[in-house]
Symmetry: C2
Subunit: 340 residues, 2 copies
């Protein structure tokens, strides 16, 4: 491996000069610049990341923490991870993948060993235990999700309150008077995972505002859970004609159950799902859905960090809530059409 010095010698300049043509932090004559560049190419020189990190106190690495359990929001997480990676590369950063299991200790580890310059956290709960660490250590951080008190933190998320509201309004607008909300698993509500609670809030207030009946059923990812949830809904609330599904894992189960129960979609029951577009388009009928903008969340999180790093930790923290986008597809229709 060629080193900076090798390049300098080859080009007949000082090492520092090579460094400067690379960083552009001070003007270099076009002449020498060209010479250096060609030496670099010739020797196939690549700056050593460790040395760079040591000398500059910057690793150019972002740490991304994802939930360990591989059954939680899988497609969304994957999309976020890829979005983050792609965006980070565009800024010259690499991404370190870590699991939430390491928790607070993990954050401390990567930060105090200077392995990463900043962190991105996911699966945020309202009173996330990692936040005190974030605050006290002053690490540049971006949360994908919003805690109860986001003061001074950079957060990005879908506006889940508005999203929940939007789902209800869409159904209410189509004339549905009884709506069921198939939420996430109970565990998420117990953990007070922010997005789950916020969606529920939005759904509830919108239902109240619109004067439509509402029942909320948490639902795990198994077929049985889906079956149980649906059965209770059909039994206790037989007039339900609108369904909002948040746990994307049960979408196929729900569709299948409804068919078995003899309820046609959308004729008998309309469905709106909260999920990535791609998933909404893989079913039949295609689902009217509230887009889960996972890639965008990743990109924005990275952008927030770049801002922070540029401002050298200053800046006051800001919460970016992406407005929900509902796309009507084949799974919703007016209640009237269903009754004929």
């Amino acid at each position: 491996m060629a080193t900076l010095d090798d390049v300098a010698k080859h080009a007949g300049v000082a090492a520092s000069t090579v460094s400067y043509v690379l960083s552009g932090k001070r003007p270099v004559s076009e002449e020498t610049r060209r010479r250096v560049l060609s030496s670099i190419a010739l020797l196939n020189y690549h700056p050593n990341a460790g040395a760079r990190a040591l000398a500059s106190a910057r690793s150019n690495v972002l740490a991304l923490f994802v939930p360990l359990r591989p059954d939680l929001y899988v497609p969304v997480m994957m999309e976020i991870a890829i979005g983050v990676t792609t965006a980070a590369r565009a800024h010259g950063y690499d991404v370190l993948l870590l699991t939430n299991e390491e928790g607070t200790a993990g954050i401390k580890r990567v930060v105090s060993s200077a392995r990463a310059d900043a962190v991105i956290l996911t699966d945020i709960t309202l009173h996330d235990e990692r936040i005190p660490t974030l605050r006290s250590s002053g690490v540049p951080a971006a949360l994908i999700g919003v805690p109860a008190d986001p003061t001074d933190l950079d957060c990005v998320d879908l506006d889940f309150v508005a999203a929940g509201r939007s789902c209800v309004e869409h159904l209410a607008g189509l004339g549905h008077r009884e709506i069921a909300f198939i939420g996430e698993s109970e565990a998420l509500y117990r953990r007070h995972v922010g997005f789950a609670e916020r969606t529920l809030d939005g759904v509830r207030t919108a239902a109240a505002d619109a004067g439509v009946g509402l029942v909320h059923r948490p639902c795990e990812s198994s077929f049985e859970a889906a079956a149980g949830a649906l059965a209770r809904i059909l039994e206790e609330r037989p007039r339900t004609t609108g369904l909002i599904i948040q746990n994307e894992a049960v979408i196929p189960s729900m569709l299948s159950l409804l068919r078995t129960a003899g309820r046609a979609v959308p004729e008998d029951v309309s469905i709106v799902a909260l999920c990535p577009d791609q998933i909404a388009e893989q079913t039949s009928p295609r689902l009217t859905s509230l887009t889960m903008p996972a890639t965008e969340l990743g990109t924005r999180a990275v952008a927030a960090l770049m801002r922070r790093l540029r401002e050298d930790g200053a800046g006051s923290g800001r919460v970016e809530l992406l407005p929900p986008v509902l796309t009507a597809r084949g799974s919703t229709t007016t209640r009237e059409s269903g009754e004929q």
Copy 2:
């Protein structure tokens, strides 16, 4: 941030001594060892990763390359990524997440900048363009997947030939005489992605051996593709009673289509899927499946790299094919029972 020197001063020893109690590379008296350790704890010292990498020429980082397209084997990729991360941590390594899009250049970049000590590649094609780079650069590498010529390379994968065979044998053993194989999308075969071709091989030879009829239908991840594939099968091969599904994304669609077509599972048609167990258990009926051991693949890939790194690049390359495990669940039954 406390440095090694701070700790040394505080403990009243030489810097090297601190380093040695940390690395264990030379004996240290219990007495001083304790003193050092307590100083470390007291000062909350964490070794600087960059400095360490520079001095030791080891970054303690593994680079994991995953496909960019977020719709390709999502659950499997996610599970592999988490498996790799968890296993790597257990060995004191961190994981850098990179996309295949960077391709060969990406490998060169992380390796020649010494950002990572070794790489893990996924989505391997038979004549993968990245392999020459691997060979010439001599980077420790582990492939999740097997190319046509794996000489000198460390590869781990499910034994897809045996897996394909196993699926057919299971169905044939239950008396099915006409089998359809719903494969991956055409694009994968065109790219000669190893596992797709190998599965097909296994399925074909086993069908020939068992003397059962077989038709292979590549299938993309959309509902339409699934519908098209199934329609052709039912039309051209009406006596088909056994289905093998490899593209896990169409599993829900297939189940739904079969129901619509009035074919009961498993009474009229038996299904065996190649997918993670978790997915096989989320449907109704639960699917007889050939386990996709994604976590295990990640773990083994890391183990292979640890071996390589220990042997300092020596070692001759070895291909580890995990034997397929078929779990009978509710989606397969004897053909006879179906005919009554």
